[in-house]
């Protein structure tokens, strides 16, 4: 590994790069939380953890949970799409191709986040009134 400074990738502006770095760090934090809460007994949720529909719904009853899950969703979708775009940039797409990539990825990101938020509210709708 040669000790040099890191070089900005052409086609990836400072803001996208910064979002990728910051969301990456936040994902490590939130994924840790998501993972330990979902899969270990550190936080008692229900007898079956999140392995039953009922368990998931009860878990979402605490308003902190849907809030964190929605934030996590936004970070992870953004990070994955910016990362995938940066892989495609290595293929040196033409200006027109990059435009298509930008539009498609933005659309996929918005749809995925909207779907995720819809899913969170759908889960909350199963809570007993």
């Amino acid at each position: 590994m040669i000790a040099t400074k890191s070089v900005p990738k052409s086609g990836e502006g400072m803001w996208l790069w910064l979002i990728k770095i910051v969301s990456g760090a936040l994902i490590i934090l939130l994924l840790g939380l998501h993972f330990f809460v979902n899969h270990t007994g550190l936080v008692s949720i229900t007898e079956n953890g999140l392995l039953t529909h009922e368990g998931v719904v009860q878990y979402y009853a605490n308003p902190i949970v849907p809030t964190i899950e929605i934030l996590f969703l936004i970070f992870v979708i953004s990070h994955s799409l910016i990362g995938l775009r940066s892989i495609l940039l290595d293929l040196k797409p033409s200006r027109a191709a990059l435009n298509v990539i930008n539009w498609v990825f933005t659309l996929v990101g918005v749809v995925a986040i909207a779907y995720g938020i819809w899913l969170v509210f759908k889960i909350l709708s199963f809570l007993p009134a």
């Binding site: 590994m1 040669i2 000790a3 040099t4 400074k5 890191s6 790069w17 770095i21 990456g24 760090a25 994902i27 490590i28 994924l31 392995l51 039953t52 529909h53 009922e54 998931v56 992870v76 979708i77 994955s80 990362g83 995938l84 892989i87 290595d90 293929l91 040196k92 995925a112 779907y115 995720g116 819809w118 899913l119 759908k122 889960i123 199963f126």
Partner: protein, 130 residues
């Protein structure tokens, strides 16, 4: 130093994954890229299958039942391993982007590989014996 002949280009993109004659950093890059693709695939799969939660208790509980098979547990283990590696390597890349710890990149990379291996063994054992 001679220039390696296996440098990737847009037409020969698969040479991204050819580490011959290059530095250790190429391995870091290859693993980062493979885990990125794997995790992205898993992310969208995860979002789609969790749609079962919207359908109702029967749909979701039957789906979870399906996941008890060793094939899915193995797949989930791969996701966990990829997540550990990508997260640790991402920290290294993030630090070096800000000019931090650049002279120690090699040591940090070897250290994070060791942590990934330890994590893989730990999760491999816990997931298959749970």
């Amino acid at each position: 130093m001679s220039t390696p002949t296996n440098q990737p280009s847009p037409k020969n993109w698969y040479k991204w994954f050819d580490p011959r004659g290059r530095d250790l950093g190429t391995w870091a890059f290859i693993l980062n890229r493979l885990t990125a693709l794997g995790l992205t695939f898993y992310l969208f799969l995860h979002l789609i299958v969790l749609g079962q939660l919207a359908i109702g208790p029967d749909a979701y509980d039957q789906f979870v039942e399906l996941l008890h098979s060793p094939v899915f547990i193995f797949g989930e283990l791969l996701v966990v391993i990829a997540g550990i590696y990508h997260g640790l390597n991402g920290l290294r890349v993030g630090l070096t982007s800000f000019g931090i710890a650049i002279p120690y990149q090699k040591q940090i990379f070897i250290g994070l590989l060791i942590l990934t291996i330890i994590g893989s063994i730990y999760f491999g054992i816990t997931m298959f014996t749970a």
